[in-house]
């Protein structure tokens, strides 16, 4: 029983981090109509920058600095490679694939091919439901939950957030109302990138820092985005947490690969039967 509780909590924590990253993917898809294959690598860059910056200035500064750097990186990438290709929309997926190669190789060239580990900024364990648990994991879940809540507050309470929702809803009307659509698109891409890097720096102490990390996390994020409904932000969060908990629990009884296969099969059914996601109509 202990192991089930532990795996459920692990799933919940990991689900919140995945939700944070998948939110970035989802908002970029919803607004710019881009399948961003490099999004997993944005997360990976976040873990790497987290490792490097935390190593020199400490973790708490990294936690603030890395998403800011991610925002700038997103702005640069949007301006240089996304905007020139946005007219040939189906090819943006190829562009982001090229981007993914560049990011991975750039990290491999600088950090080296070996996976690294990062020390947790908060040491110690806590006794919870009869098991000893790493305190940092609870912090990580808290940071992720706060960031997600902050993101939704930003979207619903600020002018810029309202603009983003307006452009998502109806681009032409938004343009007619005088909303700077190009600027909003650039900002959204940068925001999505920043969320992935923030997820990276939060996850860095509980996962390995590796130039291939993006390849592993990308399918998980896509599953959350698809099952939640492409572009449906609340659905994405719900699906990410649900999937991670499900995979956690299933892996207690069966092979983790089987857990992964089963969630992929669920995803195919959702895509074919309810392409707008499981929660379409429920939260929109």
């Amino acid at each position: 029983m202990d192991i089930v509780i532990a795996l459920t909590i692990n799933g919940l924590i990991w689900g919140l981090i995945v939700a944070l990253i998948a939110l970035g993917l989802s908002i970029i898809f919803g607004l710019l109509d881009i399948i961003n294959v490099a999004h997993g690598d944005f997360f990976m860059v976040g873990t790497v920058l987290g490792l490097v910056i935390a190593g020199t200035t400490g973790f708490w500064i990294a936690l603030v600095l890395v998403p800011l750097l991610g925002f700038c990186l997103g702005l640069v990438i949007e301006r240089l490679v996304i905007r020139p290709a946005i007219s040939s929309a189906s090819l943006t997926i190829v562009i982001t694939f090229g981007l993914s190669m560049i990011l991975q190789e750039a990290v491999r060239a600088t950090l080296g091919p070996q996976p690294r580990r990062m020390a947790a900024p908060v040491e110690g364990t806590i006794h919870l439901f009869g098991i000893d648990y790493d305190v940092y994991r609870l912090f990580a879940a808290l940071f992720a939950a706060l960031a997600i809540a902050g993101f939704f507050l930003f979207l619903s309470r600020t002018t810029l957030g309202t603009w983003i929702r307006a452009v998502r809803h109806d681009r032409e009307t938004a343009t007619a109302l005088g909303i700077p659509v190009t600027l909003v698109c650039a900002f959204t891409f940068a925001l999505g990138t920043a969320l992935a890097l923030l997820g990276g720096v939060i996850a860095a102490p509980i996962t390995t820092v590796d130039f291939r990390a993006g390849i592993d996390i990308l399918p998980v994020c896509f599953m959350a985005v698809v099952i939640g409904g492409l572009g449906n932000l609340k659905g994405t969060v719900a699906a990410a947490v649900l999937l991670a908990v499900m995979e956690g629990v299933v892996s207690a009884f069966a092979d983790p690969t089987m857990a992964r296969i089963s969630s992929l099969v669920v995803m195919s059914f959702v895509l074919l039967a309810r392409p707008h996601g499981l929660f379409a109509g429920a939260t929109r």
């Binding site: 090229g98 981007l99 560049i102 190789e105 492409l230 074919l272």
Partner: protein
């Protein structure tokens, strides 16, 4: 123009046919195998191109059918003790059958949804192949020794030249098939579906069936490629089914020129030669491949062959150019959105 095109193709075929005789004379024996590998991988790119360039569906999961062709052949030889041709047939049947089943679901979707479902299908079987080690060898793969091509004549794949001609002829047959299909009424239906789904439907084309046929044919071509690679390397591995392999094939097809017959071959050749030359000198050469991909998509979205053809044909009338060499669809998203 047509005569020039035929002359170019004849010259290319003649050049490829004479390579194993010419290259060793210059001490470049190693490159015979590189060209053979290019021919094999170009089939995977050609299968991406058939779907994207001719029917307008971007698949990010063609490695699945490549992997099925590969494992069908490898398992046929190593477990059932089949000869070369029956094993090849098993691989091709496996990949085509898989494409027929997966395609029946996948082509119900278009656009981004199609790209995602193809990745999901390929990921499912990637994980299955990784976990069923007794059958597939998982990450380590399956090694086997290839049976002779023709026992009576003593043709073995271990002979570099024989192997090259075997691969060359099979690939030539695939490209001939593709050329025939593209020029046939079916090929015109492909183009009609790609250009405007709604109008194609209105003139009586069964859009779903047309897409499905293209999907099965693409699975067949990818399967032949996979089966050839299994025979070429005497090896099959689950890692060839990962979505990164599919992604590379998309890059080759688009850099070469989607919607042209030779584009995938040119793209594959350039990037594999680039890899062979540069990877020895610069470990992180993939950065350059990524940059090349991005630059091509931004500045020459028709790819190298497509841009070159467009340049040559600039003098000809606009309408004829569009009919004969439609290239890739400019913005299928908006076109479709308007149609609906």
């Amino acid at each position: 123009m047509r005569a020039a095109g035929i002359a170019l193709i004849v010259a290319l075929v003649a050049a490829l046919a004479s390579l194993p005789l010419v290259l060793p004379a210059f001490g470049l024996t190693f490159w015979v195998n590189v060209v053979a590998e290019i021919l094999i991988w170009s089939l995977l790119a050609a299968s991406v191109n058939l779907l994207f360039g001719y029917v307008g569906l971007l698949s990010f999961g063609q490695a699945l059918y490549f992997g099925f062709g590969m494992y069908g052949t490898a398992i046929g030889i190593s477990m059932f003790g089949l000869g070369l041709w029956p094993a090849l047939a098993l691989g091709i049947v496996a990949s085509t059958g898989m494409a027929a089943v997966a395609g029946a679901f996948a082509v119900r979707l278009t656009w981004h949804y199609f790209a995602i479902i193809t990745v999901v299908f390929s990921l499912i079987f990637y994980f299955v192949a990784m976990s069923q080690k007794w059958l597939t060898g998982g990450d380590d793969g399956l090694s086997f020794s290839a049976p002779p091509i023709l026992e009576a004549a003593g043709w073995m794949l271990t002979d570099r030249t024989t192997q090259y001609y075997f691969i060359f002829l099979v690939c030539l047959a695939c490209y001939a098939l593709l050329a025939l299909v593209v020029a046939s009424p079916l090929g015109l239906r492909f183009a009609a579906v790609r250009e405007n789904e709604k109008r194609a439907q209105l003139i009586g084309i069964n859009v779903y069936a047309t897409r499905w046929i293209a999907f099965v044919l693409a699975g067949f071509i990818a399967g032949v490629g996979g089966a050839l690679l299994a025979l070429f390397g005497r090896y099959a591995s689950a890692s060839y089914m990962f979505y990164h392999v599919s992604g590379e094939a998309v890059v080759w097809a688009i850099v070469g020129g989607a919607g042209t017959l030779l584009g995938p071959l040119v793209g594959t050749a350039l990037l594999i030669i680039f890899r062979e030359v540069v990877s020895g000198l610069w470990e992180n050469y993939l950065m350059a491949v990524g940059a090349i991909t991005i630059l091509v998509v931004i500045f020459a979205p028709k790819g190298l062959v497509g841009s070159l053809t467009a340049l040559v044909r600039r003098g000809e009338s606009e309408e004829r150019e569009h009919l004969e060499n439609p290239g890739i669809p400019a913005t299928p998203a908006t076109a479709r959105a308007e149609a609906e």
